[in-house]
């Protein structure tokens, strides 16, 4: 059954329309990719879902409409948004950053377990737990951002350009860890990526945006087969 259903979504910046009739469907435990060039509306789509950008159209999570909810209310429903640029809290230590992620939870004991899980998932963070977010490398900040999302025990995770500005090897590590997370936790995922190769390692299906519209939607296998996709996004 579908966990997150977006249909006919529109969004504006000022008088500029950035999203036009976007639709998206994420099954429970599934992973959907959003591909597209810069400015195609990928990030805005995620922001609209998490409520950081006003939008019209219909967004349903587990059957409930998200219309008019604030980002923190959306998060409370179990949607964790890993924003573009990671949104690390520079003055907080790694541990504190993770605890902010668990803000909505009351189960102190499991929170501790989840922190350990994050550190196990991203070993690079282990010897940095006491250092400030601002002191981390880009890759570590990205891992921290994902970790913060994990701490919320979400049902769906919105990943925005997790590979942005990372060395290819680091990007791979990050995606490997996320892949492992997906298997172990069964969290559903919406993955925005410019690097389709990376995205395809994670998602079962994907939609391609151009100028704020879905132009193409299909399973990973189908999409991989299409040569325009190969040309545009797989550098093949």
């Amino acid at each position: 059954m579908t966990l997150l259903e977006v249909s006919g979504m529109q969004a504006f910046y000022g008088r500029v329309q950035v999203l036009d009739d976007i639709s998206l469907s994420v099954p429970d435990g599934g992973a959907v990719g959003i591909l597209g060039a810069n400015g195609a509306g990928k990030t805005t789509t995620l922001r609209a879902i998490s409520g950081s950008v006003r939008s019209s159209g219909d967004i349903r999570f587990d059957g409930k409409s998200l219309r008019g909810l604030r980002p923190d209310q959306v998060a409370a429903l179990g949607i964790a948004h890993v924003p573009e640029g990671r949104g690390t809290f520079s003055d907080l230590t790694v541990r504190e950053n993770l605890r902010v992620g668990a803000y909505l939870r009351r189960d102190a004991k499991q929170v501790q377990e989840d922190i350990d899980y994050c550190l196990d998932l991203f070993p690079q963070l282990q010897n940095r737990v006491r250092s400030n977010g601002s002191a981390l490398s880009g890759g570590e900040q990205q891992m921290l951002a994902v970790g913060r999302a994990i701490m919320a025990r979400p049902r769906v995770m919105l990943l925005d350009e997790a590979s942005l500005g990372l060395a290819p090897s680091t990007a791979k590590t990050v995606y490997k860890a996320i892949g492992r997370l997906r298997q172990e936790s069964g969290i559903a995922m919406v993955v925005v990526e410019q690097n389709a190769n990376l995205a395809f390692t994670l998602v079962d299906s994907a939609t391609v945006l151009e100028a704020g519209r879905n132009v193409l939607t299909g399973s990973t296998a189908e999409l991989k087969g299409m040569d325009e996709i190969r040309r545009a996004y797989l550098g093949g």
Binding site: F12, Y13, G14, R70
Partner: protein, 347 residues
Amino acid sequence: MTATNSFSTAPASPWRARLERPWVRWGLVALVVVLAIVVPLLLPEFANQTLARIGVFSVAVLGLNVVMGYAGQISLGQIFFVGLGAYVTAYGYNAGWNIVIVFVLACLIPAVVGMVVALAAARLGGLAIAMVTIALPIIGVPLAKRFSEVTGGSQGTSARFSAAPEWSGLYDDQWQLYLVILIGGATFMLTRNLVRGKYGRAFAIVKGNESVAASMGVSPYRYKVLAFTIASLIGGVSGFLYMVVIQYTSPETLNFGHSIELLASMVIGGAGSIIGSLIGGAWYVLVPQVTNIIDPNLTTVLQGAILLIVLFFLPNGFVSLPRLLRRIGRRDAPQRSAAEVPQHIEE
């Protein structure tokens, strides 16, 4: 938030476009000059005196604008340089020096002091600079009292060199206003050229992002010091004009409170704006007088309320008024987006 620099921003609008036409510009300039010459002759004494005071503090605000509005370095000590300029003027005149030399010194000494302070302070960032600049007026007051043989101590010192000379056939208030228009006008023109030239661009870069500035080969440190020095020099000019118009100075002149009022006036007028400085000066002088007319017993509460109300509708100061009007003009536009409203902190 749109940038506060009134030159770089403000999308083209019909009236602005019309302003660009050269003949309109020169027409305006001519008009201003004519007004500057005629108005003092027509206005009653008190209006002239008020205009002159506005001139004095416009220059002070202009200086503050250079360091804060343009170079983005918070300074809470501007009044100290005004006071210093005033004291230099008073001392020099009473010592019988040539008034031109006095004027030059009234500009240079504050500039040098400002530079020395900046050389040390500019190494620090943000609040630290604020702290160092707060210290100036706060330490300045007891200093002025201690060197009483120079400053006249807490009783202050007078210098009346701005009486209208016989040949002019003018009233004193007219003569003083002309002096203010002349010196203040020149200061405004020079500063305008400065901030519109390469220095202004450098300031803007430093304000925007110091590391970027450094990467572009613009030394933040050097330009911070430069901005402070210029601000102090302009403060000195304002101090000289202070003596032209008020003709008396005392430790109260460099009271820390006035520094805060200058800062408020700058923001109210419009940070990073030449016109804004003028409006700021008018604000500094007129608001106390207007509140006095409303009710002398409620000046404080009225001044606070007026300040907050204005900022609430014009967060970028009076210079952003046209932009506000234009926005009201097109209310039919589609619903405001996240870009305009930091929605996440709305309840």
